[in-house]
Every structure is written in structure tokens, then in C-alpha cells.
């Protein structure tokens, strides 16, 4: 991942006409969730979840900002915030996560003799890929298909949590909240002053200067 939108910070627009009060309220609430916050998962489950999140949406130490993605997933499960449908092969969301995490640990122990979070990244990826293909079938799954768990729960919940965070919005150069101001310039290669400027090779500094103005 590159620093494609240098200097762009969607939070700098917090007091511009792109953010209304109710938007500030929900984003502020999300930003109070800290990296280690968890109320749903036990300590053991939490270690596994953090390891899973690190494989699904890896975050390098040197990058700007951090998305507390595991804590956001935990919050979703704690509030039991569901999507409106459930694959007939899966138990309810909370049960699916508990069972899936326990089963992944069982598989890790059986294959590598250690819990999931202690495996090397490549081993973790191998296990997750096997889950994605429905190849994991130890007793711990209790009949839950590992592919349904991986696609419907792991990918869906982790990815949604990551891209609900302003740090992730900065990485992809999204305009972010836009009420009430909205946008004016809609054509190809057109950008309002409050949108992110992409750093084209050789023009990184120009993009940075423009991005610093996005919140004015």
C-alpha cells in the first residue's frame, strides 16, 4: 500500500460544511474505540481475532494512523448489530464467531501444534485460505461450513469494520462525509478543493499541499 494521498486527512474537514452535527457525533463515537477495547470476546478469542484481522487487513507499523479493526469487530458483536439475513448453514452471528475462532485454534493446534495467533503469517494465511475453500472440517466447527464462516462472517465483518474508519478513508482518497455541502465538480479528473488530491509520480509535494487545504 502506498501513501497515495499524502497529507490528506478526512478529519480535517470535521468543522467544514461537509460534516453536520449528527455525522460528527457518530464518527466521534467510533474514534473513541481504542485498539485494545473488547467486551464480547474472551482474552483467548481476542488474541485470535487480532491475528485474523492482521491477515485480512494488514497494517504496517510505519503507516500513518491505525484502524482498531479488531475492537470495531468486537463492538459490532457486543451490540449484536446484524445485517438482516443469515445463511441457513450458519448459526447466529455471535455464536458463529465464537465457534469459528475456537475451530480455527483447534485446526492450528492440530496442524502446527500452537494456537492460531502464535503461527507465522504464512501459516495463518494457509489456514484462512483453507477455510475460504471449505476444507477445514475438524469437530470444533460442529457442522458449520468453514467457507461460509470465512466469507459471510470473517471477510464481511472485518472488511466492513476497517473501511468504516477515517484512517482507511484517507488511504483510498475518498471524500468522506459530505452533508450538507456535497460536491460540485463531477466530470472526469475534476476535483473539488475539499477532495483528496492523488500523488502522481513527481508531483507528490503538490498533492500534499493541495491535501493540506482540503479542510479549509
Amino acid at each position: 500500500m502506498r501513501d497515495l494521498y499524502p497529507g490528506y486527512d478526512v478529519l480535517a474537514k470535521r468543522h467544514t460544511p461537509s460534516w453536520n452535527e449528527q455525522t460528527r457525533e457518530v464518527i466521534d463515537r467510533r474514534l473513541t474505540i481504542a485498539r485494545s477495547d473488547h467486551r464480547f470476546f474472551t482474552e483467548e478469542e481476542w488474541a485470535t481475532l487480532c491475528a485474523i484481522c492482521e491477515r485480512i487487513v494488514p497494517q504496517r507499523a510505519e503507516k500513518q494512523g491505525f484502524v482498531p479493526v479488531a475492537a470495531l469487530v468486537d463492538n459490532k458483536l457486543h451490540t449484536d448489530d446484524r445485517e438482516g439475513y443469515r445463511d441457513a448453514h450458519l448459526p447466529k452471528m455471535q455464536e458463529a464467531w465464537r465457534r469459528g475462532i475456537a475451530a480455527l485454534n483447534d485446526e492450528a493446534q492440530a496442524r502446527c501444534g500452537a494456537p492460531f495467533h502464535e503461527l507465522a503469517g504464512a501459516e495463518q494465511d494457509e489456514l484462512l485460505s483453507a477455510a475460504a475453500c471449505g476444507e477445514l472440517k475438524c469437530a470444533g466447527w460442529k457442522g458449520m461450513p468453514s467457507d461460509a464462516f470465512f466469507h459471510r462472517r470473517v471477510l464481511s465483518d472485518v472488511v466492513s469494520a476497517y473501511y468504516s474508519h477515517p484512517t482507511a478513508w484517507n488511504e483510498i482518497g475518498w471524500g468522506g462525509p459530505a452533508s450538507p455541502r456535497g460536491y460540485v465538480r463531477m466530470d472526469f479528473n475534476r476535483r473539488d478543493a475539499w477532495e483528496a488530491a492523488e500523488a502522481y509520480p513527481g508531483h507528490e509535494e503538490q498533492a500534499r499541499q493541495e491535501n493540506l487545504r482540503a479542510g479549509r
Binding site: Q22, V26, V57, G84, Y85, L128, I172, W174, G182, M186
Partner: protein, 569 residues
Amino acid sequence: MRDGEARENRRPSDDPMRRPRAIHGRAPDVFRLGAWVPMRQFGEDEEVDFAIVGTGAGGGTLACKLAEAGFSVVAFDAGPYWRPLEDFASDETAQSKLYWTDERIVDGENPLQLGSNNSGKSVGGSTVHFAMVSLRFRPEWFKSRTLLGYGADWPLDWREMWTYYEEVEQALKIAGPITYPWGPKRPRYPYRAHELNAAAKVLARGAEALGISWTETPLATISAPRGASPPCVYRGFCTLGCSTNAKQSVLITWLPRALHAGAEIRDLAMVGQIETNGADRVTGVHYHRDCEWHFQRAKNVVVAGYAIETPRLLLMSATSRFPDGLANSSGLVGKNLMVQGNQAVWGIMDDEIRSYKGPPSLAITEHWNYEDKGKDFHGGYAYMSQGPLPVLWARTLAGSRGLWGEALLNEMQRYNHSVGLKVVSEYMPQERNRVTLTDEKDQYGLPIPRVTYSWCDNDKRMNRHALAFMRRALEAAGAREIWDQEDDTCHLNGTARMGFDPRTSVVDGDCRSWDIPNLWICDGSVFPTVGGVNPSLTIQAIACRTADRIKALAARGDLEVRSKDRQLV
């Protein structure tokens, strides 16, 4: 997550998700912060002319039209009564509060994804988060069995529907093109078409390169001021609720009119059962509000809960005299569920597209709805430009392309250069696609529904045709690295089809059930076929027509709306 805590910290007296707002003789003024409009209220013992279950495109429109005709109306909705200006954030996650997220089990060969893309839980129904695409059916679709050789004929005449479409387009001040490229002549749209964004211009380029027509999509968001609604400012959050009131949803169009005409709207009111008497007439509805069950007496009940909740309620209301559920002598309640295809092709452009700006579907081609040659399938499809926001886009890349890890993060960095075309396509009615009840109970103690869906061979052939054609169009427009999103569907229709014969349909052309003359169904459930366009305009047009039919039936004494008639039963 939906930021449940944020809501908990608001003033409890004004949390629209926990406490009803439409009480004490007033309802929220949807155009002003913290303001109210007067609302007539009816006693539960008062036998109202119509109890309407659901306030979306079907129920909300009908509530307005019946109240304006002088009938007494109470309309129930399980969802909250929002004031968009104060309740809607610019945020994908928080705004999932607009969706119907109660548990539903999905199965079949192609299990549906429900909630965000097809189910609303709000006063105003799914129109609070719909994409505003407001299209007329192709006339032949109303007689698709006779004229096109598939599906079932509708007991409606397209020329009559043409006048109701015009009524709805005027009521919503649809913004659209001066001339529409397909089908019989239609009036000019009331408001000018919206400016195209880059994603829409990609659709136009592709269509022109392949020699087919395209146009600006007729949309229910205004392009110039209208009353208390300002013109659209191109926020791009349309499918997450419009926080400026530019969107002409049922919440801010038909329902203020309904209140003004004397209708009552009960928010956070989940109807769990329709009561019937020994004479096989409905007598009212049992509904859950403020932590307890209530009963509202009514001379007529209209079910307008959309194609899952409508059959669910009819099935849940079974009695010893109607052991298979109400209005179900045909055995068809819950069957013939039809979604529409929502496959897409996506690619990368060197240009910056930034498709998050503006309504998501600003340009459209209905070419394959009107062209019958060159198809190896029945039915048709439209396709439109797209504007997914980041969470939806990431879920699409993860869910449909299986990306995760660095591959996902890198692909997400091409968000501003990504562009796509997406169909709304006509799937066939099949009895095996259906809504049934499970033994599991929801928060109201009601059985949760099971939704079973599988494509037939015709559906699969159409999917292939649409994906292949859109790929050519996107390539011709200059996109590269094109990939197919094969799994998505949208909209919910069928499950209580209208028809000519009580043995093969649930309601007649007036949306009146064959079995119980004072039970009506008025929403997308009544569609015998689904067409290749978004259904909301047709649902609203049917509601307008149903209101006119009810007026006519009442005028000639064929409606049980007066107590003296009831005593005769």
C-alpha cells in the same frame, strides 16, 4: 457497527428507534428540526375504514390517496419516524439503521443477501434508502405470457398504467430527460435531468461505441428547488438516506400529504397478526408498540410489507378456518418470490472517476429491455452506472472477488479509478422461490421467515448475456482489467401475485384478495412478473390505481366500509 451506544446517549424521549414519535396528536415534521405537524388519531375501538400495514411505496402512497378520498386510515410501520435533517449522518455504518436487519434465514441454490440492498425498516419503507431510479415498465410486460411467451399476464392495462405513472412522476417531480429513447411516447419529465458524473459518462461512451441508446436516468431527487426540498447537492449517500431532503421518498412526499388529509401513522408498530371473524372477514390487526400488543379495529386491512413481510404476515395469521394462512386458497402466498439480477462488471480507468459523487445511477440504457432479437433468454435488463461508497466497495471486492490481505488494500487504493456497470434484470417467477415460516422466533415472539431462492436456466442465461454485453461496453469506454461481479441481486417482488383467476393468483387487479373481500395487498408482492426495471415507480402507480378502484367500488356499494354493510355480512 451501527453505533448503538451513540443512540443510547441521546435524549431518551426523542430516540426514534426506541420511542414512537407519532403520538399525542402530532407527527414529526420531516422538513424542520425538532418540529411537528398535527396528526389526527383514532381510538383502537374505532373501526377505521382502512388499517394499512406498511408505509413504503405501496402502503404510504395508498394511505395518502385513500385519506385524500375521505376514508379514515391508520397506517402502521415497524420502523422509526425519521426527520432526515436531524437523524441522518453522512456515514455508511451508522446509516444501516435504515435497513430491516431482523433475522431472516436464507437458503436455496443462490441464497439472497437481504437488508441493505432491498429491505427498509423506516416510516417511508425502503424508499428512504432507495437509489431513486424511477422507471416505467415496458408495455408488453403487462402481457408477457401472451405477447412475449413467458411469465404471467397482469390483470392491468398498460395504457391505464401509463396515466398512473404520470401521476407518480408528477407527485415526485422526477428529474429526467426531455425525450426517452424507448417505448411509447411519454410526457416530458417534470424536472430537468441531473448533470452526469464521470461514471455515467463512461456508460454513455460505451453505449455510443456499441451503437445503442442511453439516457439520463429518471430519478426521484430534484434538480431544482421544490417546496421545502432543496436541489440535490450530489453527496452520493443516496442509498444511506438523504440528509438534505432532495430525495423525493415516500417519507417526504406521500406521507405529509396523508397526514394533512387526516391519516394517522403509527411508527414502531409491528403488526403480527390479522384478525378474522366467523364470517371470514378481517376485523383488524394486532400490533406491537411500546412493549405491548394492541388491537386496532378496521373495516378493511391492506397488507403492504413488501415481498417477505407481506406473505409472512398472511401466513402468521392462519386460523382454523384458514389453516394455510389468509388469502391462500390458491396455495400461492409466499411463492413466486422474484428478485432482480444485480450483476456488474467493474474495471479500471486511467482517468479519475470518483464515482462517489452524485446519485449512484445517473445514466442508464434500457436497450435490452426493448430489443428482443439476439437473446437466448426470456425477459430483459437495464444497466446503469454505479457509485459504491467504501464499505460497500470493499465488501464487493472481498465478497465477489475474494480479495483480502495486501491484495485487498492495494485494490482499494484504486477506488477513485474504478468504474462499473450494473444490471437490473428480469428473473422468472418460480414457485420454488418462496417465503416460509421457521420455528425460530424474533424479538416480537413471531416466527422468523425463511427465504429460499434459486436461479433457473433462463436466469443464468440472462446473467451471462448481461455480463458479456456490459464487459464489451466497459471495454469500449476505455476501461481495463475488467472483472465480473456475478452474485448480486436486488429488489423483492412476487409472493402474492395478482391475476385473473382465484386458483392461480392471490389478489385481483384491484389488489383485493380473492378469498377475503375486505383484505387487500398493495406492494411489490402483487407483481406476477418483475420486468427489467426498478419496481418502486410501478408499486406507487399500482397504489394510485388501487385507491381509484377502491373509490369506485365504494361509490357503487361494493366495498365494506360502512358499518351498516358490515351488519349485513
